[in-house]
Amino acid sequence: MATTYRTCPISGLQFEKNAETLMRWNAVVGVLWLLVGGITALLVILTRWPAIKLLPADQFYTILTAHGIDMLILWILFFEMAVLYFASSTLLRCRLATPMLAWAGFWLMVVGGIITNIAIFQGGSSVMFTSYVPMMAAPHFYLGIILVAVGALIGTGVFFGTLIVAKRDQTYTGSLPLVTFGALTAAIIAVFTILCGAGILIPTLLWSMGFIKEIDAQLYRMVWWALGHSSQQINVAAHVSIWYLTAAVVFGAKPLSEKVSRGAFLLYILFLQLASAHHLLSDPGMSAEWKVLNTSYFMYFAVMA
């Protein structure tokens, strides 16, 4: 693919054509999932509202599952890809590393998202976002999420590749811009999150197909939350970066101190994962000391950040 650039007349930012198309598609599909998530949210509210009580129990649990997956995985991850391509290609004024691979990742995510939604709306996979075992969903419920995760991992790889391209081609001097640094934080957390998700969802897929006899319910809860909680932290790191971006573009604001802002992102990467333990506070098997340590002392470093 040829590399062509255009300069946005409003912001003065320089967009590379492949990267821009990818940003648009990822962002638009992300917002479409947000729309589905929003419609299902409305149905949830209208059912929980005692005076209306719109849906019967089975349909309610189905749309609640769809709401969780579409909002907390699909909308976040698709938009995240758009942010990553923007923070690398646009802010560093360079080409995207491998646009073809980025498109492959995008389509994997689209197909995966649709497959999981088909599984949910067929009615046999009303297992909620958490999908705690041994409550079993249809195999294609897990398969779809895994495809989305693989696609997102590819997108994250393209982002890392683009950082290398920019460094090699010397399209910027000195350190990465703060917004790109924040996006890098999000990408690092995304890699951890997706690998943990694969670590538990691939065995769960095999279990739902009958190849594995049993998955320990407590082990599932612990590993799953490394996906369930951290996936929301990808979003936090990305949206803090977007705050810096908005402030910079709209008001021409500058960070008080690069050192503090970057230090905060670093603390976030180092200590955030422990905070997932707050989902296990009332679980059997972990000691009170483990719970206190993981949810307080170290987590505060992440909260401070």
């Binding site: 649990y61 409550m135 350190s175 811009p177 101190s257 059997p284």
Partner: protein, 179 residues
Amino acid sequence: MSAILPPSERLWWKQPIDKTEWAWIGIAFVWGMIMFVMMIYWHVYGKQNLSNEAYKTTPEMFAAKAEKFIAENTIRKETDQEIPVVKVPANGEAYLIARLWQWYPILELEKGKEYKIHLSSMDYNHGFSLQPVNINIQVVPGYEHVVKMTPTSSGTFAIVCNEFCGIGHHSMLGRIYVK
């Protein structure tokens, strides 16, 4: 120095930090320390606390122990499902089964006595939520969770399942009587 451009100072990590920012870091750090101390304080002096006691089990093993306990201590049956009401010996141990979609049996406790309640699930992940006092404990299949409880007021308490467990989840209600 803009957030969308490389830092204008090449050695940005050598720039001094502004007083206002130090103040915020100080506030966040002190607050974090207060909360950390509170967690330990609450663990030692708080009135509701978590149990460290849990064992690996199987639905069959746990059900056998629970059925023995129920057979020895049942005083009557209640509701159209004929659920046994079990009077737990004072300061004794009680077994509570969580299954689709029932808490079994109904426990009868005495105010001011300490009990050890053994919890496990026969099937999916369930959530023990005692209302209106709002005590919440995970009930995970394959694990026997032992929780110490001392009722401080008498009356009828409801057990609500607070972990989604399928189509009958919202109807999974149980009871504890405190005399």
